[in-house]
Amino acid sequence: MIKHDVVIVGSGLAGMRAALETCQGLNVGILTKVYPTRSHSGAAQGGIAASLGSTEPDSWEEHMYDTIKGGDFLSDQDAVEEYVKAAPGVIYDLEHKGCIFSRTPDGKIAQRAFGGHSKPRACFAADRTGHNILHALHEQLIKHSERVKIYSEWFMHSLIIEGNRCHGVVVSDIQTGAVEVIQAKAVIFCTGGYGRVCKITSNAFASTADGVMAAFHAGIPLEDAEFVQFHPSGLYRQGILFSEAARSEGGYLVNGKGERFMDKYAPSRMELAPRDIVARAEQSEIDAGRGVNGEGYINLDLRHLGAKRINERLPQIRQLGLDFIGVDCVDEPLPIQPTAHYSMGGIPTDKYGQVIIDAEGTPMEGFFAAGECACVSVHGANRLGTNSLLEAVVFGTRSGKAAYEYAKNASFGSIDEGREKTRVLKVFEDIFQRDGSESYNDIRNEMKEVMTTNCGVFREESKLKHCIETLKNLQFRYKKGKVTDRGKLFNTELYEIIELGNMLEMAEIISTAALNRKESRGGHFRSDHPKRDDENFLKHTLVYPGKDELDIKYKPVVITKHQPTERTY
């Protein structure tokens, strides 16, 4: 049995930041199913928010209000306040740790405007902000390698829970297939999002809901799962991200008739309205037959920015266009459509990253979560661009601190190693024993298709019901899947099958939560209930595993400074 004071699952921004916090005096293990530098945080392009005021005066109060309004008043305001107050310090700390940022002519960290922010608040490094922070944090892990052990290409299968306390995780080494138990005084989940349930998504192949489903299987509810963010600029058909920075640098959205259409939807902010509004505007244009050439896309036009500015501020985007579709955005517009991008919901935590299991705030002791897999909830019903990197770093740090304080005084629990290992080995064996004829590829494609079509930008009761039914059928077919590789060594097929199992359940949770929220708020839009309904739905959804069906409960939103008002831009 492997033993660490603290074990962290996931090594993106939140995970590595948590590791740096806990390793000051404790023995830490950090686990990733890829390599730390391959984490999906690295794909974040545009920026990280903080009210530094490098170019225009700014304040945490304004950042707080923008975030709450952007989130359609579903954010817990006590958490938002601490989060935006921490932001400038977090950025300076990253800078001190060696992170590379683009600079103003006088040497300060440069900032640019982003959707839904009333001030230029996005600190950035060209259009590689996530990548630069990810690598800077990895450098720090290397610096502290004596105190942090990195387990690259290890998969986390389940949590070990006794009563109300977490004692560790059951994992396996992808390279060798060996199943191990990691015993820990505290466990921190930083396992990212689950956009891979959709066909059109900006998410990496690794974003498959493993962390949130492990928590769910341990009896922990998932909060606000219906709030999936659709990013307005995904590459047509592929979903690969073209950063919001493209619009913040001045890019236009143009429909098939050659019109800039955002004046119809958000006249004061145009292309820089929050993402939910822009994504719906685009989808409305497409659905009304005003897509380019009558097809399912619209254009992102950057030509007027000129080659110099594009090369300086958006070099990666230009290269992506060239590599993936042979379009040079200096001369031609880029074809885009809304793409599933970010999961606002997740494992419920308090503002210290402590996982809580009900509406009363009862903690699951020794279990913490941060980043996209967690729901604090600072983003409410819709996250503003550049607020996710900030969330990962702020709550990575805070959960690390909280886990450190907890683990310092806690002792190791007792674990039945054999029993825990057997459970996972049984999952392996069960998959290997299947001699079914169903293709996992077909099941995966059908899940993605039904989610994008029926649980996408626009939703309604009949579609969601159809979606849930289809998913249940796919879950049934999943048990009769066909396996090719029964080896122990580097069996990527096996892990993809396990990931698919997690996603099929996650998709059902998302669509069930969406069916039960009979209103429209932020990223969740019900065509049959197009208005926000504060009277009945100013509350967070909690989905629990039930006996046969999923069990849905709600909990109130924490409102401190800002009463909900109608949201206009």
Binding site: V34, Y35, T37, R38, H40, G42, A43, I91, Y92, E95, H96, K97, G98, I100, F101, S102, R103, T104, P105, G107, K108, I109, A125, A126, R128, H131, N132, H135, E139, I142, K143, S145, Q175, S202, A204, F205, A206, R237, L241, P315, Q316, Q319, L320, D323, F324, G326, S439, Y440, N441, R444, V483, T484, D485, G487, K488, L489, F490, N491, T492, E493
Partner: protein
């Protein structure tokens, strides 16, 4: 119909690697990674490779295509066809583990060796350390490296000397050598001038060809060399070799092949000089010895004018 000829290897089944062919029509717009997944998901689920972001930023899916390392997600498959065939192999200079997945242990060990983190012992200011856009530019290219291993795979030096740190680790090192916030430049360039470091690069620039990003390691290595010479870190074979080279061309317009090895090794480096003797003898036997009396070229004045122009 296109043919994907793929090197398969699974030590659980058989000791030797072999090629297997998969034929299908490449769908319009499919990247190489899309095609690899098509094979995995519909033809042979045991086919093993790494992938994650499929947007050229995570660095997982580097493989060798038609003999050269490339990022699978970044290339349109049709562009890689050679007579309707694409040959896929694991990255070079690393041990294959299964099919196209290779062991990255040594790669990361070498990155760790260059102390790849900012060393700035003085207390940082309350806010950010100032850094001009020009200073940012010095480290911006190196910072685009995604650690995909494409450069490492095709590095010609690594093929013969596994002690070489390799292009990726050295590019990473440049990012700190040239960072105005780092206070350890001299020690860094001294370490990087040791055996296995910058001076062991043979300037073939293969890494520049293979790099999928603007990181382009060879140019970064050259930048470290420049800083090393500026900082007076001459006390090593590589730096002396470079300086002797420059000196010779400056004075005669051509290379003095008699002086170069001696100056590179150092006049008082008896052991090193003795090591040169067998090479010299072999050259003698093969009649490859340069003329004993070194002559200048006719237009040596022009060469000297160029050096003056370059302020050397």
């Amino acid at each position: 119909m296109s043919k994907f000829k793929i090197k398969r290897y699974n030590p659980e089944k058989q000791a030797e690697a072999y090629f297997e062919e998969f034929d299908f029509e490449i769908p319009e717009g499919a990247t190489l990674l899309d095609c690899m997944n098509h094979i995995k998901w519909t033809m042979d689920g045991s086919f093993t490779f790494r992938m994650s972001c499929r947007s050229a930023i995570c660095g997982s899916c580097a493989v060798r295509v038609n003999g050269h390392a490339t990022l699978a997600c970044q290339k349109q498959a049709v562009d890689l066809l050679k007579k309707d065939e694409v040959v896929l192999e694991p990255l070079g200079n690393m041990k294959p583990m299964k099919d196209l997945a290779v062991d990255f242990t040594q790669f990361w060990d070498k990155v760790n060796k260059v102390n790849p983190y900012l060393k700035s012992p003085s207390t940082p200011p309350e806010k950010e350390r100032l850094q001009s856009p020009e200073e940012f530019k010095l480290i911006d290219d190196a910072s685009t490296c995604i650690m995909c291993g494409a450069c490492y795979s095709d590095c010609n030096v690594l093929e013969v000397d596994e002690n070489f740190l390799g292009p990726a680790a050295l590019a990473k090192a440049q990012r700190f050598v040239s960072d105005t916030r780092d206070e350890n430049t001299l020690e860094r360039v001294k370490n990087l001038s040791e055996y296995g470091g910058i001076w062991d690069c043979t300037h073939c620039a293969e890494c520049v060809e293979r790099c999928p990003k603007p990181a382009q390691p060879f140019y970064r290595i050259k930048e470290i060399m420049t800083v090393a010479l500026e900082k007076g870190v001459h006390d090593n074979v590589g730096a002396r070799h470079a300086l002797s080279f420059v000196d010779s061309v400056k004075h005669s317009g051509r290379l003095n092949e008699n002086k170069l090895p001696v100056e590179s090794m150092g006049f008082f480096n008896i052991k090193g000089l003795l090591e040169l003797v067998p090479v010299g003898l072999r050259m003698l036997l093969k009649r490859k010895v340069p003329p004993i009396f070194h002559k200048s070229i006719d237009d040596v004045q022009d060469v000297r004018r160029i050096f003056r122009k370059l302020n050397q």
